[in-house]
């Protein structure tokens, strides 16, 4: 099992969800995050004073999947999140050793979906 973590632009969240649903990946968790990458920040002005904001708003997705779903998930995220511009984000794939469905106590690959 793997845990796939992706940082994407907030406005692409819906498209990514759609792309995942198309591939029958229905379960995911989302957190708001701030990211700092190749995308430079922007400059704001308040009462004549400039302020550099170098963390951009991002969404962090966490999706637990079985091994044979990894490629499809990556594909789906790329499909939904890619705009071709800097700041599109990253996907990290982490190994996962165990997964538990709290409701039933089920473990392992069946618990994930």
């Amino acid at each position: 099992m793997k845990l796939i973590i992706a940082y994407i632009k907030p406005e692409r969240l819906n498209a990514v969800k759609q792309a995942l649903f198309k591939r029958e990946i229905f379960k995911l968790s989302v957190t708001t995050a701030l990211g700092c990458g190749q995308q430079k920040g922007y400059v704001e002005q308040y009462r004549g004073v400039l302020k550099e904001v170098n963390l951009n708003k991002k969404m962090r997705l966490a999706i637990g999947v079985n091994d044979h779903f990894v490629e499809q998930t990556i594909e789906a995220i790329c499909e939904g999140a890619r705009t071709g511009h800097i700041g599109d984000g990253k996907i990290f794939v982490l190994p996962m050793e165990e997964c538990v469905r709290i409701r039933t106590g089920e473990r392992g690959p069946e618990a994930i979906g």
Partner: protein, 408 residues
């Protein structure tokens, strides 16, 4: 210059105060006197509303984490200030004059005997003015002054500083015999650009300098950091409430329900809108885009600027004075930032700078003759020569030295 209206009103007040219920003597004079009371009370309530406005502006322009603290300060300064003004301030301001400098009797507002006397309403109105002056400082020292120091400071302003300042220019409002030395000279400050706003503003400037900037406001390399206000909706609400309060502040300063109040309201409004528009344009030019917080400051600047001359200028004069106020406030805010004086809400630029400007403007734009208030205009631009202007400049200088000096 104290408006003729005042004297007439007080004459009537003294005549009619003997009868507990005005209805008993159903004369038209008595009814007019009651009308003056109703109007002045309503105006006083509007001025009280300005406390709400100040609280909202200050909290909107500062950080969320300090909101409760700022609310506390704004409520408490009014509370302790009211008591201080009641106990001693009112006596210092309106009591029998010692050399035109300070009042010496009437402590505890003991002068009031009659249940329906005009004095009660007058003192209610004056209490609200005193509170306004005290609360101006809280914006400039926001986010760093200690609560207990602030309380003590509020008591001193309301008990001593404001009343003495007020005595000089306005001591004769309650009792013409008790007039102050500046009032006797013919100093013109109809509703308080100097007495209320610039006194508050000078104290604010002193406070901002003494306390130093907020941590994180200026970086080691000297560059200013912006600490954005947390809620511009609340700040705008506050400014609009202040604007409403000003319709009590300026027209109410007639303390009589006569036709002049409509004119003064119109003039006040003209000053405010001109300040708003000019501040917006100036901010656009300097900073490249319209800026809400600066525009709001411009609105208040216009209001402060027309406060002194509101009874003696024409609407076109108000547009010019307010408009210049709107430009001044922006330059003031940017300059203070450059010389590292940290004034989170722009209180100094609004109240001090424009209080001074409005006071001087009397000497330039006073147009009594045009308004048929008297035979001769005293403003330089209306053929009044330099006499009034000189007195105004003297007043500005004296109050600056007094309030700024005391602030340290």
């Amino acid at each position: 210059m104290i408006s003729k209206v005042f004297y007439i009103v007080f004459a009537i007040a003294f005549l009619s105060s003997a009868s507990a219920f005005a209805q008993d003597s159903a004369s038209a004079e008595a009814v007019q006197q009651n009308l003056n009371i109703v109007w002045t009370l309503v105006a006083g309530i509007l001025v009280f509303f300005m406390q709400t406005g100040f609280a909202m502006v200050e909290t909107g322009f500062t950080r969320a984490k300090n909101a409760a603290n700022i609310m506390m300060k704004n409520v408490m300064d009014f509370a302790v200030g009211s008591i201080a003004f009641f106990l001693v301030g009112s006596a210092f301001m309106f009591g029998k004059s010692a050399w035109g400098l300070i009042g010496t009797d009437g402590f505890f507002m003991k002068v009031f005997e009659d249940a329906s006397n005009w004095n009660w309403t007058f003192m209610f109105f004056q209490t609200m003015f005193c509170a306004t002056s005290a609360t101006i400082v809280s914006g400039a020292v926001a986010e760093r002054i200690r609560f207990s120091s602030y309380l003590i400071y509020s008591i001193i302003v309301s008990a001593i500083i404001y009343p003495i300042s007020g005595k000089w220019a306005w001591g004769g409002l309650f009792n013409p015999d008790a007039a102050g030395w500046l009032g006797n000279l013919g100093f013109c400050d109809f509703a308080g650009s100097t007495v209320v706003h610039s006194v508050g503003g000078w104290l604010a400037l002193a406070g901002a300098i003494v306390l130093g900037p907020r941590i994180g406001k200026y970086m080691e390399d000297g560059k200013a950091n912006s600490i954005p206000g947390h809620n511009l909706v609340i700040a705008t609400l506050g400014v609009l409430i202040l604007w409403i309060g000003w319709f009590g502040f300026n027209p109410g300063s007639t303390t009589s329900g006569v036709g002049d109040i409509g004119r003064i309201a119109m003039i006040t409004n003209m000053g405010a809108v001109a300040g708003t528009v000019c501040a917006m344009i100036t901010a656009c030019i300097i900073m490249g885009k319209p800026d809400l917080s600066m525009t709001l400051n411009g609105c208040l600047a216009g209001l402060v600027a027309v406060t002194a001359p509101c009874n003696t200028i024409t609407p076109v004069g108000a547009l010019i004075i307010g408009g210049i106020g709107g430009v001044l406030v922006i330059l003031g805010v940017l300059t203070l930032d450059k010389i590292h004086i940290d004034d989170p809400v722009g209180a100094v630029s609004v109240h001090c700078l424009n209080g001074v400007w409005g006071t001087i403007a009397c000497g330039l734009f006073n147009a009594e003759a045009v308004l048929k208030l008297s035979d001769k205009s005293t403003g330089l631009f209306y053929g009044g020569g330099f006499h009034q202007l000189g007195i105004q400049l003297l007043g500005v200088a004296v109050y600056a030295a007094w309030a700024f000096g005391l602030g340290f």
